[in-house]
């Protein structure tokens, strides 16, 4: 039937129909056969690009891993040294225990020594602020000695030696001569130490 219809057409019409048929077939074939594959390929390539980028990011991170490890070791070392500036609770108590002996060594007469419980350290500038670390405390002992003024000076100097590894603070210093006594003043002061309770926990 198609052949009979085509027979009636002239050459130019046949060529037109043939070209249109080939183009239509090509178009249809592209949409039915080739296009889906091409779309899949595009999607796969897009996914591949994403994965590549992710992989590149990860590689960058992994390259930074050794640097991070170095930094961590450095910071840990630094932190360990920093912690050494703090007394453990035992060390603090030991230090307070030794105070009387130190006073005697400076020819002073120890009158009293009252050791307080550790107190949570607050930021003075931010009084309402929460303590940054609950394991960091201050512990003080009220020390009273009598003796020669210069011995007292040496004793205080000995307590707060600049080359001492840990910080020792003297507060509420009060030196006074007792009535009738011109040579042996009485010195009362608080010895305040920085105590890191976490070091006891670790131990």
């Amino acid at each position: 039937m198609i052949i009979e219809k085509l027979e009636k057409l002239d050459k130019s019409q046949r060529i037109k129909i043939a070209v249109m048929a080939v183009i239509a077939t090509g178009w249809l074939s592209y949409y039915v056969i080739t296009r889906s594959s091409a779309i899949k390929l595009n999607q796969a390539e897009a996914k591949y690009t994403d994965i590549q980028n992710e992989f590149a990011d990860m590689e960058t991170q992994l390259i930074g891993l050794s640097k991070l490890e170095e930094r961590f070791a450095y910071l840990q070392n630094q932190f360990d040294r920093q912690k050494q500036k703090w007394f453990t609770r035992t060390q603090a108590l030991q230090f307070f225990e030794n105070i009387n002996a130190m006073a005697l060594a400076h020819n002073l007469r120890p009158i009293s020594r009252i050791i307080s419980e550790p107190e949570i350290l607050f930021d003075n500038k931010k009084e309402e602020a929460e303590p940054q670390n609950h394991s960091l405390r201050t512990q003080s002992a009220r020390v009273i000695v009598t003796g020669n003024y210069f011995d007292i000076v040496d004793f205080v100097g000995d307590l707060t030696l600049p080359d001492r590894a840990r910080k020792v603070s003297i507060r509420d210093m009060h030196i006074a001569l007792a009535p009738g006594d011109d040579f042996y003043p009485r010195a009362a002061f608080n010895v305040v130490l920085l105590v890191d309770l976490s070091q006891e926990d670790e131990a």
């Binding site: 591949y48 910071l75 932190f79 600049p162």
Partner: protein, 501 residues
């Protein structure tokens, strides 16, 4: 060499497929190949091709082995399928003659109501007023079956011509020296034949015979039967003949030996007739055809091929194929080509998906590979995250420790007390040194004899490294017996930066 100068001529009768492959080369005519292929019974019946596919398959087999590859074909239907009729026409231009022939053919009723196709050939003697047109008529069904065979054999059909026509042309060719001798032509195929009568190189009678080579040679009464059929024709020829003795030429679709046998039988039947034969061997010698050594090409196909190569010159000769059939064949060929193009386009589309699919697989494989690597490094990633977290925590702890550490102010009391002792004037006495709660300020209380000494003391204290300011806060005189004492208070402020020296 031009490809168009090669021709394949195929003559099909009831029992044989006769094929000749002839060409015109720079060295003249050349017979490339020839073959007589037996046909199974029933493929062709009474000259009508019943099974075109089987016949075309045999042709394809021949073509497959032929070199050079033949492209064009001339088909020759059997004698029984074509009716030949000579008619007289006055001399006139070719196109007018064709119209006249066409008009006359329309009145032809031999094939009843069946659609017919026709061909014709003009035979004219010099200085004659009229010309003889030998009309050939067959049914369109017959010609379409030959067209179908050519198409199925993938050959371009140049022409369908009656098998007898080229033989007639050969006989009546002006260049032939035997033209005056010829009065009758007997053309015999395997199962049919044709007898024609000529006078002055113009056909006068053409009659088909239902007797063929097989009948003449293999049947006991074949010769008798042939004699009976030829007798009235010979009588007619005798009546119009100018010569006393009739000349009968015999052409047969068989070997030279069998042709000679037929000729001798006819000679024995008709003593008063001069019987000769037309065989391909003589023509090969006459035309000096190359490549024909030891070959005896089938006569009808061979002469038809020669005719196509314009060896014989006659007017007329159309094509026993209807214009509609040719148009239909052309359309089918175009449809076939278009179908191939469409299939090619579809295959191309499918083929185009192959590299895309390959690339897709490669990309997916690469993606899977990278994903696997990513999976493998997830613990590393966690480790990185863990270290980062620990570093952050460590930094926070460090900051907390540093801040807490810095918060505790260390007043260098030993140095301050030593500075006080070193700078105190002789006539000044210290009774009390007391600091404030945060130890940054302290108060010196004492007694002096002279006020100037108190101020001097304060000034000296202010010059020390760890006392930022030292101000005389209170000076009060008091009586201690006869002596007058000065009670003083010096307010000092420690120098925080001095502690860092």
């Amino acid at each position: 060499m031009n490809r168009s100068e090669f021709i394949l001529a195929i003559h099909i009768d009831d029992n044989f497929l006769n094929v000749v492959h002839l060409g015109r080369t720079a060295n003249g005519l050349r017979l490339f190949a020839s073959e007589t292929v037996p046909l199974e019974e029933g493929l062709v019946k009474d000259g009508q091709i019943i099974n075109t596919e089987s016949v075309s398959q045999k042709i394809r087999h021949f073509v497959a082995h032929a070199r050079p590859k033949p492209h064009k074909v001339v088909m020759l239907p059997s004698c029984t399928t074509v009716r030949l009729k000579p008619s007289e026409f006055p001399h006139q231009p070719k196109d007018q003659l064709q119209n006249l022939v066409e008009e006359q053919i329309r009145e032809y009723t031999f094939f009843g109501n069946r659609e017919i196709v026709f061909d014709y050939c003009v035979f004219a003697a010099r200085n004659a007023d009229t010309q003889t047109v030998l009309q050939a008529v067959t049914t369109r069904r017959v010609s379409d079956s030959y067209l179908a065979v050519a198409r199925q054999a993938k050959l371009a059909l140049v022409r369908i011509t009656p098998a007898i026509m080229p033989i007639i042309k050969l006989m009546l060719d002006k260049s032939s020296p035997r033209i005056k001798d010829v009065s009758l032509l007997l053309a015999i195929e395997s199962a049919s034949g044709n007898i024609s009568v000529y006078k002055n190189a113009r056909p006068h009678l053409c009659q088909n015979l239902s007797i063929g080579v097989n009948d003449v040679l293999e049947s006991q009464d074949g010769a008798t039967s042939l004699a009976e059929k030829l007798k009235p024709v010979l009588e007619f020829a005798q009546s119009i003949a100018d010569h006393d003795k009739l000349v009968l030429k015999v052409a047969a679709a068989c070997s030279s030996a069998r042709l000679s046998e037929i000729v001798s039988k006819i000679k024995s039947l008709f003593n008063d007739v001069e019987v000769g034969q037309i065989n391909s061997t003589d023509i090969i010698k006459q035309l000096d055809i190359k490549g024909a050594d030891n070959q005896h090409p089938p006569i009808f196909a061979f002469i038809s091929a020669l005719d196509h190569l314009d060896v014989y010159e006659f007017d007329g000769q159309l094509n026993l194929v209807s214009a509609d059939s040719i148009n239909r064949q052309k359309t089918r060929n175009e449809m076939s080509l278009l179908t191939k193009c469409i299939i090619a386009v579809i295959l191309l589309s499918i083929a185009a998906t192959y590299p895309i699919e390959m690339k897709l697989r490669t990309v997916e494989a690469s993606s899977a590979n990278i994903e696997e690597k990513i999976t493998e490094t997830i613990p590393m990633k966690r480790k990185v995250a863990g270290i980062k977290s620990r570093i952050k925590k460590l930094e926070e702890n460090q900051a907390a420790y540093s801040a807490a550490y810095d918060m505790l102010t260390v007043i260098p009391w030993a140095q301050i007390l030593r500075d006080i002792a070193e700078n105190i004037p002789n006539d000044i006495r210290i009774l009390d040194i007391s600091s404030s709660v945060d130890s940054t300020n302290f108060l010196i209380i004492g007694q002096a004899l002279a006020e100037s000494n108190v101020y001097s003391f304060a000034k000296k204290l202010q010059k020390t490294d760890f006392i930022e300011t030292a101000k005389v806060d209170e000076v009060e005189y008091s009586k201690d017996g006869a002596a007058t004492l000065l009670n003083y208070k010096i307010a000092c402020k420690t120098n925080p930066s001095g502690s860092n020296l």
